[in-house]
Amino acid sequence: MRVPRLAVNALGVGLALAGWQIAGSGLGDALVATPVQVAAALVDTIRDGSLWPALWSMGWQMMVGYLAAMAVGVPLGVAMGRSDVVLSVVKPWAQMFIVVSAAAIVPLFIILMGRGVLFCTSIVFVATVWYVVATMTEAARGVSPKLLNVARSFAASDFQRFRYVILPALHPFVLIAARIGLVHALRAMITAEMFISAGFGGLLNNAGLDLSTAPLFGLIVILMALSVGATSLLRWAAHRSAPWYASRTNA
């Protein structure tokens, strides 16, 4: 008999929540708040006025850094994938930056830029752009030489091969890079805000100092919901705009 997937998912979540509730009851809410306590704290946090402005300021500053990272990362990654010269110039930097965590460069950026908008957007940009670059480089290197040959056999010019073969072949990967980049942008933004005790990261910081872990868990749940929501939205957009790719990978 086939069990519906949704039911299995729900069962898994239910079991985890039950285990969490039992553990929380044993350890006390200073260490592990129970789901029931977290739900109550979540309602309080949402009612409290400070959440929405914090989310807003986090959201727009992150988006500025993220969109800049996409705007620079996609063309740069494509150039690296299609040109050996660009690849050999940029790759060492990309490799260096991609292994450095955002937290490690935050102190330097605070010294350089202070604690304002420029700082937050710059951290997001630096932490995101190389993941976008790496994704697009691989995608651009993977463009089928056979299909480029087909275009050539129809006498397509360099520009036409770019326009009719490389660009459409890369389209689904732009959306994949957008998804990967968004996750890194959000992480970097939270890290930056925790350092300067501002916005949503600031709330997380303060909640960590609380006697109960319930509000902290509540904020983490909000963060997870945001991240999952945003990446799902991007995945949906990818399926809508490149159905040939989506249905091929789902097959």
């Binding site: 087909v150 056999s153 006498a155």
Partner: protein
């Protein structure tokens, strides 16, 4: 009168000579098969005629025009694995060559529809390539090459990746389409039966570096029927070519 003349073409890849001083002529409306063992260089010759591969020396002249090293103009190519653009629907794939040539949308789609119907894919205009079977994909590939109305059709083992039944059907389809729009065809294959069934003339190539071992004018009338594959004359020619090739490979 359309005519193809290839004279004294040589080509090496690095130190490996693939073609040495090869010439061939194709007359208007003639169907010529290039038959030989895999990897002998016959596909390279086809790509040279298509302008996808450069020559070390020699000339390719189509209708009095030197097209050596230049792709497009008057030639249409059908590739082994169909090699359709996965992000284009069937009809958009067929219209590709016209789009490259700058033909307006309405005109190129109406012409593409006509050729899609000719290859028996009415009703599949909006299908994605991955939704089509291997045989149907190759029908689209054939329509794509016909749609630019080439004088010379180049086919590189177009049915090599298909199962025997599909191949037999597509061979008949190709003959039917070609009889409706008679043009020069160069058909690369390693199938002796296929070459005898389809071609007016067969050039039997040696192992690498490729040279013509024998030129065979196929003595069967058109239209050809499946039953002729069992005629004694057909079987005798088949045996003769088979021995010629085996002798060359073991020599």
């Amino acid at each position: 009168m359309a005519r193809l003349s290839v004279s004294n073409v040589s080509k090496s890849f690095g130190d490996v000579p693939v073609l040495i001083d090869q010439s061939l002529e194709v007359a208007d409306g003639e169907f010529v098969a290039l038959l030989g063992p895999s990897g002998c260089g016959k596909s390279t010759l086809l790509q040279i005629i298509n302008g996808l591969t450069s020559v070390d020396s020699g000339r390719v002249v189509l209708d009095g025009q030197d097209v050596t090293g230049k792709s497009g103009s008057g030639r249409g190519m059908v590739f082994q694995g169909a090699d359709l653009f996965p992000w284009r629907s069937a009809i958009e794939n067929v219209a590709f060559g016209l789009e490259v040539m700058g033909v307006g949308k309405a005109e190129r789609l109406s012409r593409a529809r006509e050729y899609l119907h000719l290859v028996g894919l009415k009703g599949f205009e909006d299908a994605w390539p991955h939704q089509l079977s291997g045989g149907m994909q190759q029908r689209v590939g054939i329509a794509r090459a016909f749609c630019v109305r080439p004088k010379l059709l180049l086919m590189d083992e177009p049915f090599g990746a298909l199962d025997v039944q599909t191949r037999d059907i597509l061979q008949d389809e190709l003959v039917r389409i070609w009889e409706a729009e008679r043009k020069m065809v160069l058909f690369v294959t390693h199938g002796i039966e296929e070459a005898l069934y389809l071609a007016d003339r067969i050039l039997v190539f040696s192992k690498r570096p490729a040279r013509v071992l024998k030129e065979i004018v196929v003595p069967f009338d058109r239209p050809r029927r499946e039953t002729m594959k069992l005629a004694p004359e057909f079987l005798e020619l088949r045996r003769e070519i088979s021995e010629l090739l085996r002798h060359d490979i073991t020599a």
